[in-house]
C-alpha cells in the first residue's frame, strides 16, 4: 500500500486542480484519489481495489451533489499542444482503428449535409462520430483531439437542435477539424509503430475559429463557449448525458472519479453509440475489455499474410477434394453412402472457400468516399461546379485490389476534373447545366468488377488526340485508326493533351501510370466518349488476385496454363491463313490483321505432337496492346487456379509467371505471355552475337 500511496500522489495535483473547480477539496484526501493512469501502472490486491473503489464512489457522490449546486459549469483551460497519453499500444491501436472509421464516415456525411443541410439524421451521425472520438481521446488523454472534437460537437449540437443550420462555413470548419484529427491520429499511429513522429499540430487557431463560429452562429446566446476547452492532464473521459439534457450547454465532467460513479447512470442515459470508452469502477481492466469487445463485435484485425496462407490452403483443400471425388477407385465402388458423403464434403469445402474469399473482400464505398473530398476541393480550386454521384458503394472487391486502385482512381478523377469538365460559363454556352456531374460507380459483371468514372464534360476529341500523337511522334502521320484505338493513345507514355501544365494533371504521366497500375491488377481500361457529351472510363478488374482463371493447354507431354485475361481468342487455323516472312518468321492473317506466330514448343525446346499448324491450335494472346498467336498442341480445359510462385532456381526462365496445382494434383506452369513474346527478341540477340 505504501508504494501505491506514492504513485497516487503523483497524479494527484492534476486532479486536485480540477476538483478545485467543484469546490470539493475538503472531501478529497490525498491517498484516495487515483487516476486511471495510476491504476494501470500499480498492481493491487483485490482487497485494496475494493477499498479504493468504495472510497472513490463516496467521493464522487459528494462531488455529484456539489456539482449540481454549481450548475455543472465545466472546467476551462487552454489546451496544451503536447501529447499526453497512456502508453498502451493495444488501446492506442484500437483508438486509431476506430477513429479512422469515424473520420471516414464524418467526411462522407458532412459532404452529404453540404448538399442537403436538412438531413437531421446525418447531423446526428456526424455528432455521434465526433462524440465517440472525443470519448476515446479523453480516455487515452489525447487532450488536443479531445478539445477539437469537443468544440465541433458543441457546434453540431446547436445544429442538431435546429438552433443553427449547416452553412458551407460550418462544413469547411468540420472538414478542417477532421483534417486536424486525421493528423493527430496519424501521430498516434506513428507512435505505435515507432516511426518518426510527425510534428505535433497546433490546434489553437482551429479551436478559436471553432468557438467563434459557435458563438457567431448562435448570436452570442451561448457566450460561455468562448475559449471553452476541456483541459486535463489526467486521462479523463467526457460524459455527455445524451439527448435528455435540457440545458443547451454540454456538461463536461472532468475527473475520472466522477466518471467512475457516473457509469451506471450514464449507461442508462446515453445512446449505445455514445458509450465510447467509458469506464467501470474496476477501472482499467474492465475498460480495456469494453473497448476490445466493442472492436471485436465490429471487426477483428488479422495480418494479411495469415489470410493469404488461409486462402492458399483452402485452395489446396478444394483441389484435394476434387481429386478425391474424381478418383476412379472411389467412384467405381458405386457405394451410395460414400457418394453422399463425398458430395457433402464438396459442399462444405465450397462453402469454406467462399468464406475465406469473402474475408479478403471489402466494400468499395470507403475508396469512393476518399475521393469525394478531393472532388470538392479541386472543383473549388478550378472554379468548376461539380456534383459527385456515387453508386454501387456496397460492391465488394479484394482488399489488395482496393488498395492498389486508390491511386489510379485518384488520377482519373483529377483528369476528369481538369480536362473533362468545363467551367460553368463554357457549360452554359454549350447548353448544359452549369453544375457538371461526375459519377463513380461499381458493379459486378460476370465474375468481374467494373468501376466506371463518368463525366458529362467535353468528351475526348479524336482529331485533337490524333494530332497530338503525331506531333509527339507516337504514331506516324497517315495512320488509320479506329476511334477506340485513338482513345487508347491517351494511355501512351508521354501523352498529354492539356495545353497548360497544372499542378493537378497535365504532366503526361497520369494515364500511363493508370494503365500500368490497372494492368498489374490484371485489369483493363475501356473508354467511351462522345465529343461535347462526356467521357466514361470503365475499369474492369478481377474480384480477387489469389485465384485466376486459366486455360490449360498441352504441348507434347507438358501442360501449361495461360491466364484467361491474356487470351483474346483461340482457333484452329487453315492453310490459307499462314504466311512466312523471309522463310523463317511466321505470320497469321486473321480477319485482315497480320499477327506474328510463335511456337511454344520452339520457345521451350519441347517435343510437340505436331509441327503442322493446321493440326494444332492457335491462341491469340495479348498484353499491353500487343497481340500474337501462340501455337500449341491442344486445349485441355478451363480451370480456376491458385497462383503459386516458383522457386528462385527458376527466376531466370523467361515466360513463366508461376505455377498452379491442377485438378489431378499435377503441376501446371503458368505462362507469362509478355515474357514469351520478348524471349524471342532475346534469342535473336544471342544468335546475332
Amino acid at each position: 500500500m505504501m508504494s501505491l500511496m506514492t504513485e497516487a500522489s503523483a497524479g494527484n495535483n492534476a486532479i486536485e486542480r480540477t476538483v478545485d473547480d467543484f469546490a470539493l477539496q475538503a472531501v478529497v484526501s490525498d491517498a484516495e484519489v487515483l487516476t486511471i493512469e495510476d491504476l494501470s501502472s500499480v498492481s493491487f490486491t483485490e482487497d485494496e481495489t475494493r477499498f479504493i473503489t468504495a472510497r472513490m464512489q463516496s467521493i464522487v457522490q459528494a462531488q455529484v451533489s456539489c456539482e449540481a449546486e454549481c450548475g455543472g459549469e465545466p472546467a476551462r483551460a487552454e489546451t496544451p499542444a503536447t501529447l499526453v497519453f497512456e502508453e498502451d499500444p493495444e488501446m492506442l491501436a484500437g483508438f486509431v482503428l476506430e477513429s479512422d472509421e469515424h473520420l471516414i464516415s464524418i467526411e462522407e456525411q458532412i459532404l452529404m449535409l453540404e448538399k442537403d443541410p436538412s438531413l437531421i439524421d446525418t447531423i446526428h451521425a456526424v455528432f455521434r462520430s465526433f462524440h465517440t472520438i472525443k470519448g476515446l481521446a479523453g480516455f487515452l488523454g489525447l487532450s488536443g483531439v479531445q478539445a477539437v472534437a469537443h468544440e465541433v460537437e458543441t457546434l453540431l449540437d446547436h445544429a442538431r437542435n435546429l438552433r443553427i443550420s449547416i452553412t458551407p462555413e460550418i462544413v469547411d470548419l468540420v472538414l478542417d477539424s477532421s483534417e486536424y484529427l486525421k493528423r493527430e491520429v496519424a501521430l498516434v499511429r506513428a507512435k505505435i509503430s515507432g516511426a518518426p513522429l510527425p510534428s505535433v499540430c497546433d490546434n489553437t487557431v482551429l479551436l478559436r475559429t471553432l468557438s467563434k463560429a459557435t458563438a457567431n452562429a448562435v448570436y452570442g446566446r451561448l457566450h460561455p463557449f468562448q475559449e471553452q476547452t476541456v483541459h486535463d492532464q489526467t486521462p479523463a473521459a467526457i460524459v455527455e448525458p445524451g439527448e435528455t439534457e435540457s440545458v443547451p450547454s454540454i456538461a463536461t465532467l472532468t475527473t475520472p472519479a466522477r466518471e467512475v460513479a457516473q457509469i451506471d447512470e450514464f449507461a442508462s442515459l446515453t445512446q449505445p453509440s455514445q458509450t465510447a470508452a467509458l469506464q467501470a469502477p474496476e477501472a482499467v481492466p474492465a475498460a480495456r475489455k469494453l473497448i476490445r469487445s466493442e472492436m471485436a463485435s465490429a471487426s477483428i484485425r488479422v495480418e494479411t499474410s495469415k489470410l493469404d496462407r488461409l486462402m492458399d490452403m483452402v485452395g489446396e483443400m478444394v483441389i484435394a477434394q476434387s481429386i478425391l471425388s474424381n478418383s476412379p477407385r472411389l467412384t467405381a465402388h458405386g457405394n451410395a453412402r460414400l457418394a453422399g458423403e463425398m458430395s457433402r464434403l464438396a459442399r462444405i469445402t465450397g462453402e469454406v472457400q467462399r468464406c475465406a474469399m469473402s474475408m479478403r473482400m471489402m466494400p468499395i464505398g470507403p475508396l469512393f468516399q476518399k475521393n469525394a473530398k478531393i472532388v470538392r476541393d479541386l472543383s473549388r480550386r478550378n472554379g468548376k461546379q461539380v456534383s459527385l454521384e456515387l453508386s454501387g458503394e456496397a460492391t465488394e472487391l479484394d482488399k489488395t485490389i482496393a488498395e492498389e486502385l486508390s491511386d489510379p482512381l485518384l488520377h482519373m478523377i483529377r483528369n476528369a476534373l481538369d480536362h473533362g469538365i468545363e467551367p460553368p460559363e463554357e457549360r452554359i454556352a454549350a447548353g448544359k447545366a452549369p453544375v457538371a456531374s461526375l459519377c463513380l460507380s461499381a458493379e459486378h459483371q460476370a465474375g468481374k468488377i467494373v468501376i466506371s468514372i463518368s463525366d458529362d464534360g467535353r468528351g475526348l476529341d479524336p482529331q485533337r488526340i490524333l494530332n497530338k500523337a503525331i506531333q509527339k511522334g507516337l504514331i506516324d502521320e497517315g495512320t488509320q485508326l479506329a476511334q477506340e484505338e485513338i482513345f487508347k493513345l491517351i494511355f501512351a507514355p508521354g501523352f498529354s493533351t492539356a495545353e497548360k501544365i497544372t499542378d493537378i494533371s497535365g504532366r503526361g504521366v497520369g494515364m500511363d501510370v493508370v494503365r500500368k497500375h490497372v494492368e498489374t491488377l490484371r485489369g483493363r481500361i475501356e473508354i467511351k466518349s462522345e465529343l461535347g457529351k462526356g467521357t466514361t472510363f470503365f475499369i474492369h478488374l478481377p474480384l480477387t488476385l489469389a485465384i485466376i482463371e486459366g486455360l490449360v493447354i498441352v504441348v507434347g507431354q507438358h501442360r501449361y496454363i495461360i491466364p484467361v485475361f491474356s487470351v483474346r481468342e483461340m482457333f484452329r487455323p487453315t492453310k490459307d491463313m499462314y504466311f512466312t516472312v523471309q522463310g523463317h518468321e511466321e505470320m497469321i492473317l486473321m480477319r485482315g490483321e497480320l499477327l506474328p506466330l510463335i511456337r511454344l514448343h520452339k520457345r521451350f525446346d519441347l517435343e510437340p505432337r505436331t509441327e503442322d499448324i493446321c493440326q494444332g491450335l492457335l491462341v491469340v494472346c495479348e498484353f499491353s496492346e500487343k497481340q500474337f498467336c501462340l501455337f500449341v498442341d491442344d486445349l485441355l480445359g478451363r480451370q480456376e487456379i491458385v497462383i503459386k510462385s516458383l522457386d528462385d532456381t527458376f527466376k531466370s526462365t523467361m515466360g513463366l509467371a508461376g505455377c498452379a496445382i491442377l485438378g489431378d494434383g499435377g503441376i501446371g506452369l503458368i505462362l507469362d505471355v509478355a515474357g514469351i513474346f520478348h524471349s524471342a527478341s532475346e534469342r535473336k540477340e544471342i544468335a546475332a552475337a
Partner: protein, 178 residues
C-alpha cells in the same frame, strides 16, 4: 556453468544439436555413398512425376507438388556427373531444408536409394582429401570412414544454392574420375 564437453577441440553449442549433427542419412548415388546431416532433412518420399521446367540444365528435373507446396527437384547423380541410369523403385526424393539469405527453402534431391541413418562422430570425419589439383573439392564437408567404407558428407547449403543449381555444366565431385 561449465561449457559442454567438447570433442576434437570443437565447441558444440548445445547437446541436442551435437547429437543430431552427428546423425547422418546415408544414401547412394551410383556406386558411392553420401551423407547429409539428419537435421537438414524434412522427409523422404518415393519417386513421383516431376513437372519439367523449360530451358533448365539437365540435373534440374523440375518441380513437384509436396502437399500444396511446389518445390524444385534436383537429380544429384546428374549434378555430380555420374553416368545416367534409369529410375528404379529404389529411387527416392530426399526433401532437404537449405538455408538461404532469404530464409529456409525446400529442395528435393533425387537419390538412387537410401541406406541407413548413421551416427558419425566428429573424430571419424576427415577433411576432403587433396587430389593435387589445388582447388578444394566443392560441396563436401568431409569424408567419414565407417566400418571400412567411405561416406562423402555433403554441404547441402552449397549443393542446393540457387547459383550452384543454375550452373549449366555439371560438376564431377572427384577430379580423378574417368
Amino acid at each position: 556453468m561449465a561449457t559442454p564437453p567438447t570433442s576434437n577441440g570443437l565447441i558444440s553449442t548445445s547437446l541436442s544439436q551435437r547429437i543430431s549433427s552427428d546423425k547422418h542419412l546415408i544414401f547412394s548415388l551410383g556406386s558411392e555413398e553420401f551423407g547429409i546431416q539428419v537435421f537438414h532433412i524434412k522427409e523422404i518420399i518415393g519417386m513421383q512425376e516431376v513437372t519439367a521446367i523449360p530451358k533448365m540444365p539437365a540435373h534440374v528435373k523440375g518441380v513437384i507438388n509436396l502437399r500444396g507446396q511446389v518445390i524444385p527437384v534436383i537429380d544429384l547423380s546428374l549434378k555430380f556427373a555420374f553416368p545416367s541410369r534409369e529410375y528404379t523403385h529404389q529411387t527416392c526424393i530426399i526433401i532437404v531444408r537449405s538455408q538461404t539469405p532469404s530464409g529456409e527453402r525446400l529442395v528435393g534431391a533425387i537419390a538412387d536409394g537410401v541406406t541407413e541413418v548413421l551416427t558419425i562422430s566428429a573424430q571419424d570425419i576427415e577433411h576432403s582429401p587433396d587430389f593435387g589439383s589445388g582447388a578444394p573439392v566443392p560441396y563436401l564437408l568431409g569424408m567419414a570412414k565407417v566400418r571400412g567404407k567411405v561416406k562423402l558428407l555433403l554441404d547441402i547449403d552449397q549443393v542446393f544454392s540457387v547459383d550452384a543449381l543454375m550452373k549449366l555444366e555439371q560438376q564431377p565431385l572427384d577430379h580423378d574420375r574417368s
